[in-house]
């Protein structure tokens, strides 16, 4: 089986495809040896294996391309792999599953090394398979190697690694579905970095980041100035750009700890909870398309439920518990529940009211009643994606290619949710089942209710709920298995729960996850700074899952405060945080910033959006799509529709429609020229040209212009005042500000 993997035979684009290839199918990545054995020896009239004349086995003839093979020549007859297959056939081509020893793990030695650029013939790795009985076998020649970044280090089929460019990456080694790894560190010329801004900091983040930069001999950029820090931290933490007054008073503030004071101040602002409720709405899949007739109200309810908890800084584990253990009644009696519904009904039904009390409920049953979240396997994917940061769905149909998860793991995980029903409960059904007293609700199905047990898709065996660490929770009538599941997930030592969250928050602030992509925690995708990720997660758990503490910790590090400008020796770095990585503004932040700079939300129809609370900013927009259709700017600037379980749905890339919008869209010009907008009002206020230029810079970029910028801008104004008048000249300036990359990015 490892031979087939190494030669690529059982990959998804070859015989590993579910349809096979040209009549021959192997299990994907060789995870089902018994089936593969059947297919090799029995199918195609047994021609694939010729026990009487082994070298004439179709398998060998095809693999060496002695007969035509669409996949070309995969094996050399002189190779050990070919010899080993030949020997197996000569010995009768047998397979005894009982004799197959369980592979425990794959060991790679060494675990890491400093490599030098283009050291030929490469640094050799040794790989051992360790079996359940303790037996070790050298599988260096059989393992499959791949580099996570071939620009930094390459690896050949024999496991020899060579460095290409300064930086670090991992070589992932796979053998029979298990993974090992080697960290390749490729430093710049020997020595110490010239500039080491992180030296001397006793913040644990800076210690970890600094230590690795020093090993790689990569310098860190100088700290950013106060204006940059203020704009940066406001955008990252609350999604709002600073006003001129905020900039002025922050710059003037002489206190040495003013940056951390600012973080405290921002954490207490309402926009903190609004913005993060929007982010958590993305992650938890608050997609109002699936929320029924009053979906815009329920989309708001979902968002507002999160907002209320973030505002009072509910510990993250408790917040998630209240999502995972949701029921509609939350232990209330039927009568109490119906009374609550009756009270809520007028608030829900009235289009103009936004005083619903849903956020006062303990649990978020909307997560479960969402019509696309009903199948247990979908809920299993959603929960593992949202709270464990992993893509379990690969294992729905085949063994996970980048992790150890099997189909049995996946479906056993799904089994936790099969008794969670969204239906009319029995005590509300009238005897003739015609007219229920109230609508559907979320409950745990017990004796007398209907539910379908989860079965293994291949063996059809009923699977009891099982957590990913292998512990089984027998399906019992009166015990909601979500309780032990939640206890496992939110336990301090759970390897995924805290890590997934701290990694996402880190990625949001620093522009790149320690694990990237941020929702792909897996064995084959190790973190760039494993100890830092551990330390952050530990710190988060020790502080009782305190989200504000986590923000404070990251934002208070020197690492976060490094300048975005690169210096000699760190321009190529994109994973060691030697400088702050420039990010395009999130769609919501950018639109709000345009509105703030112009002091105009648009005019006429464009400004009106019914079915959300009046006047909400984009960062507090609760829905996945507005009832009047998708907002154009949300779409082109990459706001997620919350339709797939992937952090990548929020798209931060530049695009042509974005550029056209900024350059020439009527909506931009309307806002700039609006009669009530900032520009018109200020032009009429008697302010001088120089003062106005100063003010526009502060609004748009959170800083005053440099001398050079002030001169260029003033020249432009002076030159065009004659042509179209002062108003037009300043419209150009304001438009120009919003077309600068500096305005469109956080840096």
């Amino acid at each position: 089986m490892p031979i087939f993997s190494k030669a690529g035979c059982n990959s998804g684009s070859c015989h590993g495809s579910f349809a096979g290839k040209n009549g021959f199918r192997l299990s994907l990545f060789g995870h089902e040896p018994e089936t593969d054995f059947e297919r090799l020896t029995r199918e195609a009239d047994g021609r694939r294996i010729n026990r009487l004349d082994p070298t004439n086995s179709l398998l060998l003839l095809k693999a060496t391309a002695k007969v035509p093979h669409a996949g070309g020549k995969r094996l050399d007859p002189k190779s050990p792999a070919y010899q080993s297959l030949l020997r197996w056939i000569e010995n009768g081509a047998t397979y005894d599953p009982k004799r197959e020893l369980a592979l425990e793990r794959v060991e790679v030695t060494p675990g890491e090394a400093l490599l030098h650029i283009a050291s030929d013939p490469g640094y050799p790795l040794t790989v051992h398979a360790v079996f359940a009985d303790g037996r070790r076998q050298d599988v260096t020649a059989l393992a499959v190697y791949s580099s996570l970044d071939e620009g930094i280090a390459q690896v050949d089929a024999a496991g020899r690694v060579s460095g290409r460019r300064v930086g670090d990456t991992f070589i992932i080694v796979s053998y029979l579905g298990k993974f090992g790894r080697f960290q390749a560190l490729v430093p710049a010329a020997p020595g110490k970095p010239e500039r080491d801004t992180l030296a001397g900091s006793n913040h644990f983040i800076d210690e970890h980041v600094g230590a690795k930069l020093r090993r790689l001999n990569i310098p860190s950029s100088p700290l950013c100035d106060d204006e940059t820090y203020l704009r940066r931290v406001m955008i990252d933490l609350i999604g709002v750009t600073p006003s001129p007054d905020e900039v002025r008073s922050f710059v003037k503030d002489p206190r040495p700890d003013k940056r951390s004071r600012k973080v405290e101040e921002l954490l207490a602002r309402p926009e903190y909870a609004q913005w993060w409720a929007t982010k958590f709405s993305d992650i938890t899949g608050n997609d109002n398309r699936y929320l029924g007739a009053l979906n815009y109200k329920d989309g708001y309810n979902w968002w507002n439920w999160l907002r209320a908890r973030l505002e009072r800084n509910m510990p993250y584990d408790e917040l998630v518990r209240n999502i995972l253990l949701a029921t509609s009644r939350e232990g209330r009696s039927k009568e109490e529940h119906l009374r609550w519904l009756d009270e809520e009904s007028p608030r829900m039904q009235d289009l103009k009211r936004w005083d619903m009390r849903y956020h006062e409920r303990q649990t978020l049953d909307l997560f479960w009643s969402k019509s696309s979240n009903r199948a247990p396997e979908v809920v299993g994917q959603e929960i593992s994606y949202a709270f464990l940061g992993m893509k379990l769905e690969c294992a729905q149909c085949h063994k996970h290619p980048f992790d150890r998860w099997t189909q049995e793991d996946f479906w056993s995980f799904a089994a936790f949710f099969t008794r969670i029903q969204f239906n009319v409960p029995r005590d509300l059904q009238s005897p003739d089942k015609q007219k229920p007293r109230a609508g559907k609700e979320l409950f745990f199905a017990t004796k007398g209710d209907l539910w379908i047990p989860v079965r293994h898709p291949k063996t059809k065996a009923v699977l009891p709920p099982r957590t990913l660490d292998g512990k089984v929770y027998p399906d019992v009538d009166d015990k909601d298995p979500r309780r032990p599941l939640t206890a496992w997930m939110t336990a301090a030592h759970n390897p995924y729960f805290a890590r997934a969250l701290v990694n996402r928050i880190w990625a949001h602030h620093l522009g790149r996850g320690l694990i990237e992509p941020t929702d792909a925690l897996s064995e084959a995708n190790p973190p760039s700074h494993p100890q830092l990720l551990d330390a952050l997660a530990r710190d988060f758990v020790e502080h009782r899952f305190d989200l504000k503490h986590l923000h404070r910790t990251i934002l208070g590090s020197r690492t976060y405060q490094l300048g975005a400008r690169t210096c000699a020796g760190n321009a190529d770095d994109n994973r060691n945080y030697s400088h702050y990585y420039v990010k395009r503004l999130h769609a919501e932040v950018l639109i709000d910033a345009i509105n703030r700079v112009t002091d105009c939300r648009g005019e006429g129809k464009a400004a009106a959006d019914y079915l959300v609370p009046p006047g909400v900013n984009s960062i507090a927009y609760p829905l996945s799509r507005s009832p009047s259709g998708l907002r154009y700017t949300f779409r082109i600037f990459g706001r997620p529709l919350r339709l797939s379980m992937c952090d990548c749905e929020r798209d931060q890339e530049p695009s042509l429609p974005q550029a056209l919008y900024l350059l020439n869209d009527g909506e931009m010009l309307t806002k700039i020229r609006s009669a009530k907008g900032r520009l018109t009002v200020r032009l009429a206020s008697g302010v001088t040209d120089a003062e106005l230029i100063d003010e526009l810079y502060l609004w748009a970029l959170g800083r005053r212009p440099t001398q050079r910028e002030a001169r260029i801008t003033m020249d432009h104004v002076t030159a065009w005042v004659k042509d179209g008048g002062r108003a037009e000249a300043f419209q150009d300036v304001l438009w120009g500000m919003m077309n600068l990359k500096e305005f469109n990015t956080n840096h």
């Binding site: 684009s13 990459g638 550029a659 150009d732």
Partner: protein, 429 residues
Amino acid sequence: MSTFRGGLGRRSFLRLGALGVAGIGLADYLRLSHLHGARAGQPLRDKHAIFINLVGGPSHHDTFDPKPNAPVEIRGEFGVARTKTGTLICDLLPRLAGCADKYTLIRSVTHNLGAHSLAGQFITTGNRPLPSLQYPTYGAVVAKEKGAPQDVPPFVGIPDGGGGGYLGIASSAYGVGGDPNAKDFGVRSLSLPTGFTLNRLTRRVSLVQALEGDASGDRRPDLLDGMDRFAQQAYSIISSSRTRDAFDIHREAGQVRDGFGRHTFGQSLLLARRLIEAGIRFVSVNFPTTWDTHANNFKELRERLLPSLDQGLSALLLDLHTRGLLSSTVVFVTGEFGRTPKINKDAGRDHWPNVFTMLLAGGGLKAGQVIGKSDGEGAQPVDRPVSPEDVAATFFKLFGIDHRKEYQTPTGRPLQIVRDGTIIPELLA
């Protein structure tokens, strides 16, 4: 095993790769756009495409696969017309019957997704939808692989649609927004706002250029390079007359506009032709109203749907042919599924993915054929069942794109452009 390669840098680099030239100043762009402008109107040798989505799912019985010998509850109310090539289609499509030598029908397309959204994703991407990711639509792939001149957007959606899927928003269609049949039709962000001149735009752009300063010597993140390149492209597009003129459907002669039909669909196809002529690589057109005829199927088809389909599509094919553009422009027409053989109690037909018809024309494919066959009731394929993946593989083949080429999703998952598809050799000339 394939590798993960993370992050912003790689993705932006890949996406920008398709857009071509870096490091050219604005003046160069102006010069280049003049050169391109001079070439417009000449026959295009490079392949282009127009994808027409009959959203809602048209009845195959009452369009391209009539069953005149079936009992009336299946046959329906319409008669048949014999086409130029001897095939029978619905008699309410007389113009399309007259130009059947220009297209090929595949009457045995089959899949098993009966819901609009999922089936729609299937036929617009050529891949069976997955809950965990979104596939890119045809146009996103073709635009990425084949690119377009700098001063036109590579992929346009009329009125919108054409998502980039896992390739990201940089690959998605530029949506025109409005109704090309409307008197005041203009395209969002492209037409200069009222009272605004190119001169003024240029002066604004030069202010930005002066403020940004000269960054050519700096090593900068891909993000900033990408923003610059798109900004330059946006300026090229707006300042060159090519794209603005192509979108300005009012420049078309009244006679030609009448020929396509003075309805949204006809004018959308005319606009699509203008865009293709201007060098836009891929245009997708959504039929403006729904084909989802659960009730009053015959009335809806007779009065609302078939006349504009017949007029618009035949005019498009003939116009492309006359201009010498048909051989380089693939036209692909399909809905997400067919409709039930049996007529329901509301004189409607319901969803039926088991068998339906797709129409392909142009781009050098072998026209004038019928591929595959459905049974006497139009219920199942009886000859040569074809999957949407097979059609997708063949479609890409017409562009010289290998549908087995692997892309990587943002999470590092390797995926073929079309996961499971076999080329339909009969379709290729």
